[in-house]
Amino acid sequence: MSEHEQDDKKAVMLLAEELIDDLLQTSDEELINEELEDSGSVEPALNNIRVEIDAAINSLRKDRLAEARAAIARTRQSETPPKFDAVEIRRQVTEILSSKTGTTRMTIAARNGKALSEQEIISAFSDLCQLRGFGRSVPKENYGSSPKRSTFCKVWELLNLKR
């Protein structure tokens, strides 16, 4: 760029700065009157810019949502499902359920006379494994005061210890 061309560019820059400075020196009322004088109404200009503002801010939100979704997808892809030894799981759960301590043992009365079937145990364990897959931000489940509470809590702790 020649010196002359640089001067021209600088000249327009200086002019733009002076014009902006004058915009700031002009009162609100005067500016609105100028727009009325130039366009007959201020509403079209105001509405257009307000639409632009909303669109720009909303597009930002959409971008953030897309980024969050992409991040979740990346995390899910990178996570490998937990591997458990089925025999070991069964042994540990059986151990918990057959515990002699009154507080952890699942009573038959609490289950209307029916013992937990193996399918139910596996299903409960599978649910806990799935919950565990969500990882860090998932709080410990609240099992209330049901008789099963202590059993599930034990299983939950066992799972977390194995992580």
Binding site: V12, T26, D38, A45, A56
Partner: protein, 194 residues
């Protein structure tokens, strides 16, 4: 004018900035529009794109707005910075071109047009800036004082010196500068590009 780095506690949060932009007064909206038109020259993006990008950068927290700075002035600074970067980038930024991996050898040869501005393009652009300066000054050829003032403004003469040069009081100077801006606004209602 770049926005200086601002300590986190002295800056508005991104949400506060977004709310502030949404709550701009009618007059500030008009200021925002006109400033975008003034700053869009010499290879900078068009005014609407300048406004859009400035809002996004301001509202996503990329740029920090000091708490004591009016939002509209902050937006001027962001637009100024974007426009300046555009003007610099246009001279040097090549764009990436996808070249197919497969196909014949001929199809993988890069025979596209160099995406950078050619020297001729740059000359045309520089001429446009020069032409713009001439067009602005021509607006005041029948008003010696306004012409001298406009010339002084584009030459970067400081306010006090300029006042002495045109022989105006502070009040008269402000009035004349307003006159210059208004005439430019009317001659370029959509910004510098016609």
């Amino acid at each position: 004018m770049a926005t200086p780095s601002v300590p986190a506690e002295a800056a508005l949060s991104a949400t506060e900035v977004a709310d502030g932009i949404r709550c701009l007064s009618d007059a500030d909206i008009l200021r925002f529009k006109r400033a975008s038109q003034y700053l869009s020259y010499g290879g900078a993006r068009p005014p609407a794109d300048l406004r859009n990008e400035a809002i996004r950068r301001a509202a996503d927290g990329t740029r920090k707005c000091p708490r004591n700075l009016p939002i509209v002035v902050f937006l001027f600074g962001v637009m100024r910075s974007i426009a300046s970067a555009d003007r610099k980038a246009i001279r040097r930024a090549p764009t990436l071109t996808v070249v197919s991996k497969g196909g014949s050898a001929a199809s993988t040869l890069l025979d596209g047009v160099d995406p950078r501005r050619s020297p001729e393009d740059l000359i045309i652009q520089e001429e446009q800036v020069g032409e713009l300066k001439r067009r602005v000054l021509d607006l005041f050829k029948n008003d010696l004082v306004a012409h001298t003032l406009a010339e002084g403004l584009v030459d970067g003469i400081e306010g006090r010196e300029l006042k002495e040069l045109v022989g105006l009081s502070d009040r008269e100077f402000a009035t004349k500068r307003r006159f210059v801006r208004r005439r430019i606004d009317k001659a370029f209602p959509n910004g510098w590009k016609r």
